[in-house]
Point group: C2
Chain length 354, copies 2
């Protein structure tokens, strides 16, 4: 029986959803995917940490209502979360990083990933910070230690945009992409099309839980910019930093702009894009764009995201799917673990657990 | 240096486009993909056959204007095409089947595939016939002989619909799909929206080369039905025959139907779909459907195709891209060869050429 021991770093919505899937589906995964998961450690800034070589009951984890520091109640638990110690020492094959995204330096998530990789543990993450700001470094550490660094969920949650472009479209001559990569701003634009002003639309998004109390990162394009950096570096071989990407959000768009576009057969969308230029360099930007209605991204509405790839062999290929959601993002982690498992089964990673 | 010897069965548009790619890109493939291709045999009902252990110059093949039986002019050539002999005896690692689709029994393509697999040669094909009508059989022959049977191009040309669903969406809980899988009928519906009657729209499609002289297979849904059978069997584990799939085309739709739908915020599309039912069986159909404009397939226009997958983890995930085209379909063959190469590199297929 193949079983991977996993350590969950951060126990917010995403890792909680993953624990729930473990509780419900290990038997199914065993038969369909060929492995099961065993949670051997959890750390959380608020709840503390718990390590157990034999595994922590996933159902108990998701069903217990822990107070602050509540992991201290568990066998092997502590009210404190010493992430470095847990990541380095827990008997995990795979470290699942799902703490918050810090858009400046990616910390502490970058360190979480580094500690894991240095200790020969695979890392799967949905955290944009370390991927956008330190992927090249972390990939080098992973290579040196013969482990995987996987991050499908950093862009468009579980919608497999990275794996589609990188693996399945190999040899197709990918030269660029454009995408709707932020559900909040896309929802706001949709509500403005229905007649709301910008502020009212943002308030509505906050009411539905789509937008944060401070919506800046969503509506000013900073969230999209991190995703553009990730995709450009990963798929086009660029080495961009966020400051290399020009960034304009949707807050300056007026209801009048939206209405005029509609009358003329266009629709405003916040587009993150990048393209390889003739000279080999990659140019990337985030900006609102007026798309004709027959553009493949014009019909992408609400919280749905999409990316269109420009390829030499196929022209435009577009993938459309959820851009967020707890289960959707937890599935990204599962898909990363499946990739690790397949690679291990094929013999190219010999360190993986059996 | 990894080089795969390939035999081209059929030398129409698709295999000719593949030969052109070989002529232009072998150096690029060598560095980017890790292998090059060497054409060691070509057979064509009209042109004859040619076999050369050392390889046939790809550029010469595509640039020469061969008359009927013209392969006889080449060293190792013959005016006759003895497909069985060539497939069984040519020193090929991979047989590339791209003859015509026979929707009744898939012959002679089924035999072409079988002869190749029995002789320990991988098969890549864009031919719907053998995949829709004999996939289970041919896969069993492939397994027994430790070779691959790959057919990404049988549905949506090079748009990687099969590999996306089967590999990249593993574990997502796929339970069904619906797709726009025939560019000709989709083009005809678009022109009817612009005011043309059915017959005038079909004539226009014929003028552009989108529709055959006899458009029946496209507009009556038979082409879509074969694709639905392929996807349902491959992705949902069904064992459907074409006659198991109810099939209605678009020829009964009137301009009035189209106009009424438009007024009410709908659009008619020819949809091929399948879903796994509660009892585990799979139900599939082809029929025109009135889609609301915010349906993910409503905006798919002209010769573009798309498939929406229904998944438990991600809800709906849609891939949109070309559904036909010579280069686009030749790319499907390349993507199949890449899959064979990766599998060989990972050591799971030990018979592959080095």
């Amino acid at each position: 029986m193949v079983q991977y021991n996993i350590a969950l770093i951060g126990f917010g919505g995403v890792n909680r959803a993953l624990a729930q899937l473990v509780a419900e589906r290990n038997e199914l995964w065993q038969s369909e995917l060929g492995f099961r998961l065993n949670i051997v450690a959890v750390t959380d800034l608020n709840l503390g940490s718990v390590v157990s070589r034999n595994g922590i009951d996933a159902r108990m984890l998701v069903e217990t209502n822990f107070e602050k520091g509540g992991f201290a109640r568990l066998s092997g638990g502590s009210a404190e979360a010493d992430n470095e110690k847990v990541i380095r020492q827990a008997p995990a094959d795979i470290v699942v990083e799902a703490t918050f995204t810090n858009p400046r330096d990616g910390e502490p998530a970058v360190s979480h990933c580094r500690w894991a990789l240095e200790n020969h543990k695979h890392v799967v993450t949905t955290n944009k910070g370390p991927v956008a700001l330190a992927a090249a470094d972390l990939k080098a550490v992973a290579r040196r230690n013969h482990v995987h660094f996987e991050y499908e969920g950093a862009v468009m949650s579980g919608t497999p945009v990275i794996r589609l472009a990188k693996n399945v479209l190999a040899g197709a001559g990918l030269s660029g992409f454009e995408g709707i990569l932020n559900g909040t701003s896309n929802f706001v634009l949709g509500r403005m099309e229905a007649g709301l002003g910008f502020s009212a639309a943002v308030k509505e998004a906050q009411g539905f839980g789509y937008a944060e109390a401070d919506p800046t990162a969503d509506v000013e394009g900073y969230d999209v910019r991190l995703k553009v950096v990730i995709l450009a570096n990963e798929l086009l071989g660029a080495a961009l930093k966020p400051t290399d990407v020009s960034c304009e959000g949707i807050s300056a768009l007026t209801t009048m702009d939206i209405e005029t576009a509609a009358k003329e057969g266009y629709r405003w969308k916040l587009i993150g894009s990048a393209a390889r230029l003739e000279n080999g360099s990659v140019e990337a930007s985030v900006a609102p764009r007026r798309l004709p209605l027959d553009h493949p991204l014009a019909g992408v509405s609400g919280a749905i995201n999409a990316v269109s790839f420009t390829t030499e062999m196929l022209g435009s290929v577009t993938i459309t799917g959820p851009g967020a959601g707890r289960v959707e993002t937890a599935y990204a982690l599962l898909s990363d673990i499946i990739a690790i498992h397949r690679s291990a089964s094929a013999g190219s990673i010999t360190e993986a657990a059996e």
